[in-house]
Subunit: 226 residues, 2 copies
Amino acid sequence: MEQDRPADRKFGKTAKYPKIPEATIRRLSNYLKALDDLETKSEKVASSALIASICSVNAAQVRKDFAYFGEFGIRGMGYNVKDLRYHIKEILGTNREWRIAIIGIGNLGSALLMYKGFLKQNYKIVAAFDQDPVTVVGHISEKMGKPIEILHIDSLKEVVKARNIEIGLIATPPASAQTVAAQLVDANVKGIMNFAPTQIKVPPNVVLRNVFFTSALDNLVYYLSR
Amino acid sequence: MEQDRPADRKFGKTAKYPKIPEATIRRLSNYLKALDDLETKSEKVASSALIASICSVNAAQVRKDFAYFGEFGIRGMGYNVKDLRYHIKEILGTNREWRIAIIGIGNLGSALLMYKGFLKQNYKIVAAFDQDPVTVVGHISEKMGKPIEILHIDSLKEVVKARNIEIGLIATPPASAQTVAAQLVDANVKGIMNFAPTQIKVPPNVVLRNVFFTSALDNLVYYLSR
DNA sequence: TATTGTGAAGCCTTTCACAGCA
DNA sequence: TGCTGTGAAAGGCTTCACAATA
């Protein structure tokens, strides 16, 4: 599919993208949060120094991160908050809706199902699956205004196709995570977020990201210990 | 407090630690998960190549990461799974119990309260707070065998002291996160994990880590978009 | 023989410092 | 004047390649 890409602004339609540091992508997401807050406060313009201070990074870093994708600032002034916010969403790809399925509707799965943060972004959870939908239905509908139907995991492939789902969130117990990942891959999902505390393998054409709560705690504790 | 440190094995009691890459610490946590799995399978010995393959990293990287802290391997053989696991826990500081409070008992907070992954590690949630404990009590106790009492946020400082709590998990709506963080700091908590999707500030003597679900998704989506 | 531990090379990322510009 | 955009320097991390050794 031939389409406009954010960095076309800088590199043209045919040029190769330069390699963007993974760390830059992570920071982009933080800058976006900062800009959301600034826009809420009706701030029109923000300097790299201001953004840097909110996100606890170096100002030159902020400018360099943006400069990978184009010239978004005005010398002597700073960055237009609204425009910059638009550009970053375009770069990240969050300027369009992403349709998501959650697999495993235990405590964590239902918390994710209800997570307000997703609604504010373009992340739309359009299906929920469990191995035993009957036991969890009451659990969910009790907590929701408009209850979502919990589907049996066996219908995964069919529903992913019918509902144009591109991303799967795994929130099952660790023992089931690899099996579910394989089912998601088989259903042609393009990306997987794994919340189960175990390493899983997927083919190279599927993008996998892990969110391990205990790893984040391990990291915290390491720095507390010295 | 003068105590044995993991790296004393390598650097001696008085020597300065070398600077350990933050990335190494993150990987240590992954290696530990891999070793847990290997021990479950009754594997006695693991080579750096095996551990590397499980964690999707380079084998030299694995060896170098361990070598920051000592010589744990046997040339020609590999690493003793049980010993290595012990050493990594010692390095991370997860060889002792850490007492944790959760603040904000909505969907996410109660999911964290029930999260099985914490129990298996030395992470013990010993208090739960909310602005309005009455509305959430039923919500929690319904889901737990042994219900935990939800306390009012005003008792935070007192309870943190009484129960020797060192870490606070913020699971409130984003608007309350900064206020709660300040209360935790005031209560002399040493570390904070922030699950609320907003940047918060704490003094430099408090260790802060963020877990932003939407950031992880933003990252995934960036790579899906090209 | 097999695999660790590690110096050195290579690569990548961050920061500095200042030219360029509104 | 003030702040961006960026080349160059500095710093840090990963990988290579091989000596050390159980």
